[in-house]
């Protein structure tokens, strides 16, 4: 017996209410033993498996396992009978063993003796089939209420080919579900709806989750049979007989199985049908024929609910921003950072305006990528933003501001320009073009307007709003620190520009957006403000509101 096994034996022996049934011994790096826990009048036995990293965690899971497959009906028990516990980090093996056994005691008390049902829902446990190529299907909300036992086809496409570990993993996106002949589109942004390379799968909505032992997905097709109708089996039978998929060279046909979860949403699991060997067959039922599933294993593929709620579940901007139609004018360093933050923050509608072209020099302190080459900024950034979020509608409009400048002085177009701009709720002007600020102010627009600009070396970030959007900006010019530090003057016929790194700028932009978000969320009016970045002794960003 190794020192490690001896140590574990001696620690466990000293624990109260625990009896070692089988001493801990080495087993190819692991240390295995069996214990009995006594809690109140209950005595339960567990096989214990201590893995080599113990007491360290591995891939965010504990490296000690307590197994008792007879407890599978209880909450927080994995399919192999291991109890799901999580304890705090400790590098001290004695301390860690005490905590882990205490955690097991707590499980017995809460879930074995008291049968507590947790408030938060956990998805059913599905064992993904380890095929040569793995796949994952991303779905989102659809504006349709499925009826129990309804079935049909759905359209999906390959989104990306990636890797999980050493295996290829293909990600697919669900586009719509056909109910009869009517397609119901999924709530992705229009760019995702327009993707090409469409494929077809089939779905059945069974309403209740297809599980055994409360939360483990059924493992064989015959176990699934009680959940589906004869009509669905007939539908499947007809597909098999027609052999259309097989003829088209499609080997794997995804079957989406939908059910309701406690939040009222539909969750879909995906079983893969081998088109060479459909899992169903017909049988004689009285005077007619019926269908049944064969007793063969289900190859489950993984699915993810990517609806807006889950996609931005970990954090987003206030709905008072995300639900608004936003017009972003000027997408240079500051504007592109604002655009990215809004997109990652859950905004749903963003129109980008900038006449300029992205060049390699822009990349180091903006959100643009080098590998897309010289490109119109609105197109380049627009594509990038849609890659980030499948829920944002991007309208690139390179020429809007140019057109406004051309026609604003002709005495006839003011109302038309106002009407066009007032289609938006919020205008964010990052052009630092005083003409633009002047026009936006002059037009006396209904929109909320936010004008953002930054000074040389990112010493200040200015935010001007209504009223007095333009006057306040102009008045700040006399306040801007009169440092003699030179501007960045590139070679060639360029206007000098400010000096600052991505980090310098984004620190201020993110601070400003945080403040703007708080103002919107609290319902307090957003005021003119500037941020001053002090770097002399320590880095401090100060907010100065007006």
């Amino acid at each position: 017996m190794s020192d490690r096994a001896n140590l574990i034996n001696s620690i466990v022996e000293d624990l109260p209410n625990i009896k070692i049934i089988r001493h801990f011994v080495d087993d190819y790096g692991n240390v295995l033993g069996r214990v009995q826990l006594m809690h109140a009048a209950v005595e339960l036995e567990f096989d214990v498996e201590v893995k080599p990293p113990y007491p360290l965690q591995f891939h965010e899971t504990e490296t000690i396992r307590f197994l008792n497959p007879t407890l599978i009906e209880y909450n927080h028990v994995n399919r192999d009978g291991s109890i799901c516990i999580h304890t705090t980090h400790s590098p001290d093996i004695k301390q860690k063993i005490e905590w882990d056994f205490n955690s097991l005691m707590e499980w017995i008390e809460k879930y074995y003796l008291s049968n507590i049902e947790d408030n938060h829902y956990e998805h059913i446990v599905v064992s993904e089939y380890q095929d040569e190529v793995l796949s994952c299907y991303l779905f989102t909300d659809v504006k349709h209420s499925f009826q129990k036992h309804s079935f049909g086809t759905f359209v999906y496409s390959l989104q990306a080919i990636g890797q999980e570990g050493k295996k290829e993993k293909d990600t697919y996106l669900i586009h719509n579900y056909f109910v009869g002949k009517i397609p119901y589109e999924c709530n992705w942004s229009s760019l995702y709806k327009q993707q090409s390379g469409f494929l077809q799968g089939i779905y059945v909505y069974i309403e209740a989750p297809p599980v055994k032992h409360k939360r483990f997905a059924v493992e064989s097709w015959s176990e699934l049979e009680p959940f589906v109708s004869q009509e669905f089996l007939k539908f499947l039978y007809d597909i098999d007989k027609k052999g259309a998929y097989k003829k088209a060279g499609i080997k794997k046909l995804p079957l989406f199985i939908g059910y309701k979860i406690p939040t009222g949403e539909i969750h879909w699991q995906c079983a893969i049908i081998d088109t060479d060997n459909f899992p169903n067959e017909s049988l004689r039922l009285g005077n007619g024929y019926g269908g049944q599933f064969k007793d063969m294993p289900i190859n489950w593929s993984s699915t993810k609910n990517c609806s807006y709620k889950y996609f931005f579940g970990r954090g987003k901007f206030s709905e008072k921003i995300t639900e608004k139609k936003i017009l972003l004018i000027g997408i240079g360093a500051v504007g592109s950072m604002v655009a990215t933050a809004l997109t990652r923050g859950g905004c749903k509608f963003l129109s980008l305006v900038d006449y300029d072209v992205k060049e390699p020099e822009n990349v180091c302190r903006s959100e643009y990528d080098f590998n897309t080459g010289i490109n119109n900024k609105v197109i380049d950034l627009g594509l990038k933003l849609t890659k980030i979020s499948p829920f944002i509608e991007i309208i690139p409009d390179a020429n809007m501001m140019d057109a406004i400048k051309y026609f604003i002085n002709n005495g006839k177009s003011e109302e038309a320009i106002k009407k066009r701009i007032e289609e938006f709720d919020i205008i964010i002007d990052c052009t630092t073009d005083d003409d633009v600020a002047y026009i936006l102010d002059f037009l006396n627009l209904k929109n909320e307007i936010i004008s953002l600009s930054i000074t040389n070396n990112a010493k200040e970030l200015l935010c001007s709003v209504k009223p007095n959007l333009y006057d306040w900006l102009i008045s700040r010019d006399s306040f801007i620190q009169k440092n003699n530090e030179p501007l960045h003057v590139p070679t060639g016929c360029w206007n000098p520009t400010f000096k600052a790194s991505y980090n310098d700028i984004s620190a201020l932009v993110q601070f400003a957006l945080k403040h703007i978000n708080i103002s919107y969320e609290s319902g307090k009016p957003l005021r003119h403000f500037f941020l001053s970045a002090e770097t002399e002794n320590e880095f401090i960003i100060k907010l100065h509101q007006f």
């Binding site: 630092t432 930054i454 007095n468 008045s475 010019d477 801007i480 007006f546």
Partner: protein, 323 residues
């Protein structure tokens, strides 16, 4: 560094009504014209209209003359069952017929009808608000000066369509005018400075509110020192007290003028004052951002240079802001 007192004096001087004598004369002339038109139209149903705005109270600034023309109607001027809404609509329709689209734009406002005359050859714009009011009972106005106004659009806590009783309007005017005249270096200057700020930043706040809260501050706390000290005391008073202050109408103590601002508007006004004090104390130059000189009438500096005129040291100002 800006000398705050010098700047504030310049703000007051540049906003003197007398700087705009020609425009003032045009306002008086148009007011008289409207007054006569109302008297001809409504004959004996109308008592004598009179001026009740800031000009009458000696607290006006030349950005906005605040010419309010009170039109006091008799109780049965619009029939014995006539409503205040009918009164408001009738006067609005009359003024619209007379002026709208011809020489002015006529709008129905919160309790008044705004007549904004088109810009004349000098670029002058005359704006006069006509406030229709009706005596509470037949012939009572002669005794108590009380008038019912119609709330045409919701403001503060006053709901659209409700009545708003103004009383003893001459007493209201006199109270402000007397204090503004007697305490011209304090009360009057502060009211006029706050109005300059209000017109540029919060045009929806009623001048009457500014006037009354200023008087309240002078009656409640010590307002002393130089002009900036006094103004700062006022700003602090509004910051700290606006959320709970009571501003009874001098003519009728049951009228709460503080109700012309909603709770949210009071909180915002308090924050306005808080940040204004912080910014000016942080950098005296910021006083120029909040209290702007009327650049049409800059002040003479001791060096005989125009004070308040924007100057740059170079002929082409450098770019200072970027994106």
């Amino acid at each position: 560094m800006t000398d705050k007192n010098k700047h504030l004096d310049c703000v007051l001087s540049s906003h003197k009504i007398s700087n705009e004598q020609a425009l003032l004369d045009k306002h008086i002339s148009k007011r008289n014209e409207i007054k006569e038109a109302l008297e001809i139209k409504y004959e004996s149903n109308l008592y004598s209209p009179f001026n009740s705005g800031s000009y009458a109270k000696n607290t006006a600034v030349n950005l906005k003359f605040d010419f309010d023309l009170m039109a006091p109607y008799k109780r049965n001027a619009f029939g014995s069952n006539g409503t205040l809404k009918e009164m408001f609509t009738d006067v609005f329709e009359f003024l619209k017929d007379k002026y709208h689209g011809k020489e002015a734009t006529v709008r129905d406002q919160k309790v008044s009808i705004g007549i904004e005359f088109y810009s004349d050859k000098d670029g002058h714009i005359v704006k006069i608000d006509v406030v229709p009011g009706r005596e509470l009972n037949v012939d009572q106005y002669k005794d108590d000066d009380k008038l019912n106004l119609y709330v045409n659009k919701k403001f503060g806590t006053l709901e659209e369509g409700s009545d708003y009783i103004r009383s003893n309007i001459q007493a209201q005017i006199d109270k402000i005018k007397d204090r503004a005249t007697a305490e011209k270096d304090s009360v009057r200057k502060i009211i006029r400075l706050l109005k300059v700020w209000k017109i540029n930043n919060k045009p929806d706040i009623k001048s009457f509110f500014i006037e009354l809260i200023t008087l309240k501050a002078f009656d409640t706390v010590k307002v002393e020192g130089d002009l900036w000290d006094k103004l700062k005391t006022l700003l602090e008073f509004i910051r700290d007290k606006v959320k709970e202050v009571s501003l009874p109408d001098p003519g009728n103590s049951t009228n709460e003028v503080a109700d012309t601002l909603s709770e949210t508007e009071k909180f915002t006004l308090s924050d306005d004052m808080k940040y204004m004090i912080e910014r000016i104390e942080e950098n005296s130059d910021n006083v120029k951002t909040y209290f702007k000189i009327n650049e049409n009438h800059p002040c003479e500096d001791e060096d005989e240079k125009k004070y308040g005129v924007k100057r740059e040291g170079v002929s082409i100002p450098p770019t200072k802001r970027f994106g």
